[in-house]
């Protein structure tokens, strides 16, 4: 790949590692973490915070140290803006400071993530409408890993300080650690300041069961990433790369199912490991997933999937837009806008916009029935039917999310539903893989759902837990991915 300087020297550069060197599924990360935890146990609280901040910058800088500048800018601006907001007696002045922070943070995000997408799309629009050909201005900047996550985290801090829901941090170093805390820096969970900041500012104490819970979260996270997500990625990538004569419509459906488990395993895996290692340092991060494929409706799904983002969008976008106040149509408008922006948050591409649109439509379409679905106590059969139906609706969304273009998504859709009902040996292979690799994990989730306790395995007798971990160890050693793939959510 050739080098392009881009703005501020942030251009596409072949020397930047494609894969994050300190990804949770790398040996290097665990060597790094062993050093961090060893130092952590030796230091007093203030020293722990300083060391964690340095470790977080090393963690991020191992990918590309230049982008630490963006984190530093975001940190400095939001720290000082929050101070100004707190000191302002005039509400209008505080509002202006808050608006400045929002503008700068979204400006950075816009330049680094969306500029090329919008200029290219605008040029194409001109060409298709007026046959006017133009060479769009492109910055050719590589996307800084995790920019969407830490931008949203810092934004929520400033807005919460403005709203009076959280106090402004008094120590820049502590606030910098809140922004850059390495377990959740590049792929969340997007933590709110009122949850995470006090855990940083105040001395931490090991609580009973922290190690056991951390161990469960790390093992289940590694299982979800390595055994499920990476093996599903092989099937999904292969089917999405195949030509029409190589796969049938049913194979393509299996490819979408594989992606559903890939993205869940990948993102649940990352969040779970992040929570586990944070817990070993005495910091509790929020649960980001709650068995999402057992949802029976879109609202239920968004209460279970990427909870830190969906609650962020609810609190800082949907409710300020008016939420469900103002009748059915206004609610639908607010839902559509929220989900469109939520789609765009995931990536600068039309397939993500379409995915957001689809999610918004689903929310609107289900809205009249949501209360009935939520309050009903259906039979097991009806619950299964509703869950399976909604899982397939989610999968249609995943098709839009995974497809390389809207045209490919349409090709898949028409082949599956209208033109090609054939299957090759890839269908039994793909379904067999899903059943063998992801099936036991789903069984665990059914059990967790029945106990209504995400950490129920840490509360059973140690023998049962040991057996479950031994099984996970066997699978982790034997079923390494056939081809490596990085965490999907790094690209957001």
């Amino acid at each position: 790949m050739s080098s392009s300087p881009g703005i501020l020297g942030f251009g596409v550069d072949s020397s930047i590692p494609r894969v994050l060197p300190l990804a949770f599924n790398s040996y290097l990360f665990w060597i790094f973490f062993a050093a961090v935890i060893a130092l952590y146990r030796l230091l007093p609280h203030r020293g722990q915070n300083r060391m964690l901040l340095v470790a977080s910058y090393v963690f991020y800088g191992a990918w590309d140290a230049r982008f630490l500048l963006l984190i530093a800018i975001s940190t400095l601006i939001d720290f000082h803006v929050a101070q100004r907001v707190t000191r302002s007696r005039d509400r209008a002045v505080a509002k202006r400071w808050c608006a400045l922070s929002i503008t700068i943070n979204l400006g950075i995000l816009g330049v680094f993530k969306y500029f090329d997408f919008f200029t290219t799309s605008f040029a194409r629009l001109l060409e298709s409408l007026f046959n006017y050909q133009t060479d769009p201005v492109a910055l050719n900047i590589i996307l800084p890993v995790g920019i969407s996550f830490y931008t949203f985290q810092t934004l929520s801090y400033t807005i919460d300080v403005y709203r009076g829901r959280t106090k402004a941090a008094t120590s820049l170093a502590d606030f910098a650690l809140y922004v850059a805390f390495f377990p959740q820096l590049v792929a969340g969970p997007i933590e709110r300041s009122h949850r995470l900041l006090p855990q940083i500012v105040n001395p931490r104490r090991a609580r009973k069961g922290h190690f056991a819970k951390g161990l469960y979260l790390v093992i289940s996270g590694l299982f979800a990433k390595i055994v499920i997500a990476d093996n599903m990625a092989f099937i999904c990538n292969g089917i999405f790369a195949a030509s029409d004569d190589q796969v049938g419509g049913i194979d393509r459906l299996v490819g979408i199912y594989a992606f559903a488990f890939q993205i869940y395993g990948d993102f649940y895996g990352y969040s779970s490991i992040a929570r586990g290692i944070a817990l070993w340092m005495g910091i509790e991060l929020m649960a980001n997933f709650r068995m999402p494929y057992f949802a029976r409706s879109p609202a239920d799904f968004w209460r279970r999937w990427h909870i830190s983002l969906s609650s962020w969008l609810r609190d800082y976008l949907y409710i300020p837009l008016g939420g469900n106040r103002g009748g059915h149509w206004k609610t639908c408008r607010n839902l559509m806008l929220t989900m469109l922006l939520g789609g765009l948050w995931h990536g600068a591409g039309w397939t993500f916009v379409l995915w957001g649109l689809y999610q918004g439509l689903l929310l609107c379409a289900y809205r009249p029935f949501e209360d009935r679905i939520r309050d009903s106590q259906p039979s097991i059969v009806r619950r299964l039917v509703e869950t399976f139906l909604f899982f397939n609706l989610v999968c249609i969304g995943w098709l839009l999310f995974r497809a390389e273009s809207a045209a490919q998504a349409w090709d898949f859709f028409t082949a599956i539903f209208f033109t090609d009902f054939s299957a090759t040996f890839l269908t039994p292979y793909g379904l067999g893989s899903i059943l063998y690799l992801a099936g036991p994990f789903l069984l665990l989730e059914i059990w967790l759902a029945r106990r209504n306790d995400l950490l129920a395995l840490t509360r059973v007798p140690w023998g049962w837990r040991s057996a479950a971990y031994a099984y996970a160890l066997f699978m982790l050693v034997v079923h390494q991915p056939l081809r490596t793939s990085e965490f999907i959510y790094f690209q957001f």
Partner: protein, 327 residues
């Protein structure tokens, strides 16, 4: 932060102990299975015996070194018989042909099993097709460190071959652990038993993904650009030849017949000749028909016989001329 809680002391040590015990048990099972996992492992585990037998064999001692192309392409007994007849005296032939290997593997393999035990043949015949000689041949770090490295050359192998710390860590673990080293074979075995159409599925998807990766890239102006041909280097080949020559072994490189004609990379030819090895002239090799191949790549029974006879005649001539050099 205060020290560990009583909960951890009471139960989680037991959980960790069970995990350690499970890992140990899996390793023991993997070690028991290792020598008989497949015919290739049986062959690899016989390398020390082959080296010892070769030492006691009749001179000239000929080693056939390569991969499945030579495994299926040379009849050891026929080669020995033909050369003995041509030379009017006994000779010994040994085959060292682990599958899916190339120059890098042969370099470490020879060092581990033959140089370190000081059991050297008189000549080594290396069969190859184009992609086996360059350094860019796919690295299989688990297999390399598990089967072809010793403690003596492990560190140099990891530092020279490992492209990242992760790869080095995997290589290191694989050298000491049969579970890690033979992981792919265990994965294949378990998955084939549990997932329908596993072999066919993996093979099809691998082909699709390889084709996609090699597909020409289309740039923004919709002009198709073909990727630049990969650069080839021959550092490992040089090492191998130098090692062999250093121990008085004459290396012969034999381009293996394929259904379609192919040519040796001039850079590879130059490396072979520059370091005093011999590249056998392919223009005199027997013309193979499609029917001489079993699967479009490996020689079948008829091809094997024809190629062995050809190799025997070439080697006999070479050995005769070495014993009776032209005035």
């Amino acid at each position: 932060m205060s020290s560990s809680t009583s909960s951890f002391k009471c139960t989680e040590w037991k959980v960790l102990a069970v995990l350690a015990g499970t890992a140990l048990l899996l390793e023991i099972i993997a070690r028991i299975l290792a020598p008989t996992l497949d015919y290739d492992r049986v062959h690899i585990h016989a390398f020390p015996d082959i080296a010892e037998e070769m030492q006691g064999g009749a001179s000239p001692r000929i080693m056939i070194l390569g991969n499945s192309l030579l495994l299926h392409g040379v009849d050891e007994a026929l080669l020995q018989e033909n050369i003995s007849t041509a030379l009017s005296r006994p000779c010994s032939v040994s085959k060292v042909t682990p599958v899916a290997t190339a120059t890098r593997d042969w370099h470490y393999l020879y060092d581990t099993y033959f140089t370190q035990s000081e059991n050297h043949p008189d000549i080594v015949v290396i069969g190859f097709v184009g992609h086996h000689l360059p350094d860019q041949y796919e690295l299989k770090i688990r297999r390399l460190t598990r089967h072809f490295c010793s403690l003596e050359n492990l560190s140099s192998c990891l530092s020279e071959e490992g492209r990242s710390l992760d790869e080095r860590a995997i290589g290191f673990l694989s050298h000491f652990s049969a579970l890690f080293g033979d992981q792919r074979t265990h994965q294949w075995g378990v998955s084939s038993a549990t997932i329908p159409q596993f072999g066919l599925g993996v093979s099809r998807l691998n082909n699709i993904l390889d084709a996609k990766n090699n597909r020409p890239v289309t740039n923004k102006s919709d002009e198709t650009s073909t990727p630049a041909p990969p650069t080839r280097s021959y550092r490992k080949l040089t090492h191998l030849i130098k090692t062999l020559k250093k121990h008085g072994v004459d290396p012969y490189f034999v381009p293996m017949p394929q259904p379609e004609l192919w040519t040796v990379d001039p850079a590879a030819r130059a490396t072979i000749e520059e370091h005093g090895a011999t590249l056998i002239d392919r223009t005199v090799s027997p013309r193979m028909e499609q029917s001489d191949f079993s699967d479009g790549y490996h020689l079948g029974e008829t091809g094997k016989t024809r190629f062995t006879s050809f190799l025997a005649s070439v080697l006999s001539e070479e050995l005769s001329s070495m014993e009776n050099p032209a005035p």
